[in-house]
């Protein structure tokens, strides 16, 4: 029983961009069990918002988990107001996480709020680590990746790095690798799936879907699978339990 539901104390909650926040939560049971690419379910204190918010684990530091989230809707905006010392309910670690294939060359490719889970991953991999980060405009978290690998940046507004998306950056800098680990918006993942197939690079995608239970019970969060899934017996895999990380060929985006 590696998943736990705990009352975690917020250690810090700081803005790191105009709308992104970095929060450390003391939650030993989760921190001890977690691997990169897993996520936690964060429960909002306000009773009108029932469902937990799935947020990737960005870093694991001792008995703390760090999350980095963008305040987009009611729940994350409320989360942004929580102060150090306050207590929130969190459940985790959830999902499968990235399979760690060591001693290879890697591209860790993150788009926007898909970037955070790559940080813990970049710390755990041994090998040649290329980190490609795509932003719309504002840059966050990029400097923290420097010590774990070579960082390449793409921004849509062109203010930082290559103007364009992560694939533009890969082409521009001529990056290659044995394995792609990625997380980001679906169009980006779709592009990477095609890119990986074309260049014969094993590609892992971390998906997002609307969730309820977060543990595989409600079938709310499925994604189309290429083959009939061994659990569901239809062409659906559960993002929360069978994912969020899938080998690109497994899923039909």
């Amino acid at each position: 029983m590696s998943k736990s539901l705990v009352e975690g104390t917020i250690i810090s909650n700081e803005p790191i961009s105009s709308d992104c926040y970095s929060m450390f939560i003391s939650a030993a049971d989760i921190a001890n069990a977690a691997v990169p690419g897993q996520f936690i379910n964060v429960y909002i204190n306000d009773g009108s918002k029932l469902l937990p918010r799935p947020i990737s684990i960005c870093e694991i530091v001792d008995d703390k988990v760090r999350i980095v989230f963008r305040a987009v809707g009611g729940g994350t905006k409320e989360l942004a107001t929580y102060k150090a010392g306050e207590v929130i309910r969190v459940m985790g670690p959830l999902g499968n996480g990235y399979p760690l294939e060591q001693d290879k060359s890697y591209m860790l490719i993150g788009g926007g709020i898909g970037i955070p889970p790559l940080l813990e991953l970049s710390k755990r991999l041994k090998g040649d680590i290329n980190i490609v980060l795509g932003y719309r405009d504002e840059i966050f978290l990029a400097d923290e990746f420097n010590k774990y690998g070579k960082v390449y940046i793409a921004s849509e507004d062109g203010n930082t790095g290559v103007k364009g998306n992560v694939i533009d950056a890969i082409n521009e800098y001529g990056i290659s690798a044995d394995i792609i680990y990625s997380c980001g918006p679906t169009p980006m993942l779709r592009g990477l799936k095609a890119y990986g197939a074309e260049h014969n690079i094993k590609t892992y995608l971390s998906l997002e879907e609307r969730m309820a239970c977060g543990i595989g019970a409600c079938l709310g969060c499925v994604t189309k699978s290429t083959d009939v899934d061994s659990h569901s017996h239809v062409n659906n895999k559960r993002v929360c339990k069978d994912g969020p990380v899938f080998e690109a060929s497994e899923v039909d985006l």
Binding site: S2, L5, L51, R210, G216, A217, L219, G220
Partner: protein, 300 residues
């Protein structure tokens, strides 16, 4: 202190079960919940063959509730019988199998297949709002409900509970239609049909456009319908709809439910069922209630 109830001839150690579709077959929740403590596990709706369900998004949060349009995805009765039943059989808990179908024939296929399987009861979902091909019609027309009840009863050797839709004008009439058809019990409420629109994108939030509303938002409707239905028939009632805590569960029992299913609450607190059982025990202790059966329908 007695928490056990007799429902349609079956004894359950306590009145608390889970609402179909919110707990899978219990595997995932067994990380959090000691399934031995539950009166019964009610399993996700199962059909005679695997169903893909609806496209995503299938889930939307609403104020104090949620919409789902899972569309009854399920692996089919064969996998269910071979994989999920043996899993549940490891535990000392009742098993209620929720059954769905696109047509009368499909219902019959499932219930016949279950005749040789050691489960306690069947719950027939005639009210899923997400299946366009059928389901909902059986659940909103008393004649069709009566007919499908008779049919299922005539093909099953298990106690049959008909699960009613709240999307009807007269729930008492539906309850009577099920009773007249020979149902051994009724359960209610399934979800209320709802819709959410993303105002920024001017699109439906759910791929299916409509979804089923569940959670505490609908609890007052559940209490009312359980009260009305249980006063309309003699067969016992399983109450559900927005039960978040022991107090909510007791409301349904006082309104007339013999058993109570906990659904959406599992998503918010995976220990909800256990907390509720503990809370009912505390309430009984505090109020000197020796037998839970004394509370059934005891509202004045």
């Amino acid at each position: 202190m007695n928490l056990s109830v007799n429902y349609a001839g079956v004894t359950f150690k306590n009145p608390i079960t889970v609402a179909s579709g919110t707990f899978g077959s219990g595997v995932e929740y067994s990380d959090f919940v000691d399934l031995n403590r539950l009166g019964a596990v009610t399993t996700k709706g199962v059909a005679d063959h695997p169903w893909e369900g609806n496209p995503t998004p299938r889930i939307a949060e609403t104020y104090g509730g949620m919409l789902n349009a899972v569309g009854l995805q399920n692996p089919g009765i064969d996998v269910f019988v071979e994989r999920d039943i043996p899993f549940l059989k490891q535990y000392d808990t009742g098993i209620i199998v929720n059954v769905c179908g696109h047509s009368e024939e499909e219902y019959v296929n499932v219930v016949e297949r279950l005749n040789d399987v050691d489960v306690d009861m069947l719950e027939i979902n005639v009210s899923c709002p997400n299946v366009k091909e059928g389901g909902i019609a059986f659940g909103t027309d008393p004649k069709q409900l009566n007919h499908v009840t008779k049919l299922v009863k005539s093909h099953s050797n298990k106690p049959v509970v008909m699960k009613l839709s709240p999307n009807v004008t007269d729930i008492a009439e539906m309850a009577r239609a099920a009773e007249d058809g020979g149902a051994d019990g009724i359960s209610l409420i399934n979800t209320l049909t709802g819709m959410k629109i993303d105002v920024d994108r001017r699109k439906f939030v759910l791929a299916n456009q409509t979804g089923g509303l569940s959670g505490p938002a609908i609890h007052p409707v559940a209490v009312r319908m359980v009260y009305q239905a249980s006063h309309a028939v003699k067969i016992p009632v399983i109450g559900m709809g927005g039960v978040m805590n022991a107090y909510d569960a007791l409301e349904l029992i006082l309104a007339g439910a013999t058993m109570v299913s906990v659904g959406t609450a599992n998503f918010i607190n995976p220990n909800a069922t256990i907390d509720i059982i503990n809370g009912i025990e505390e309430y009984m202790k505090k109020n000197g209630v020796d037998d839970i059966n004394d509370l059934i329908g005891a509202v004045e």
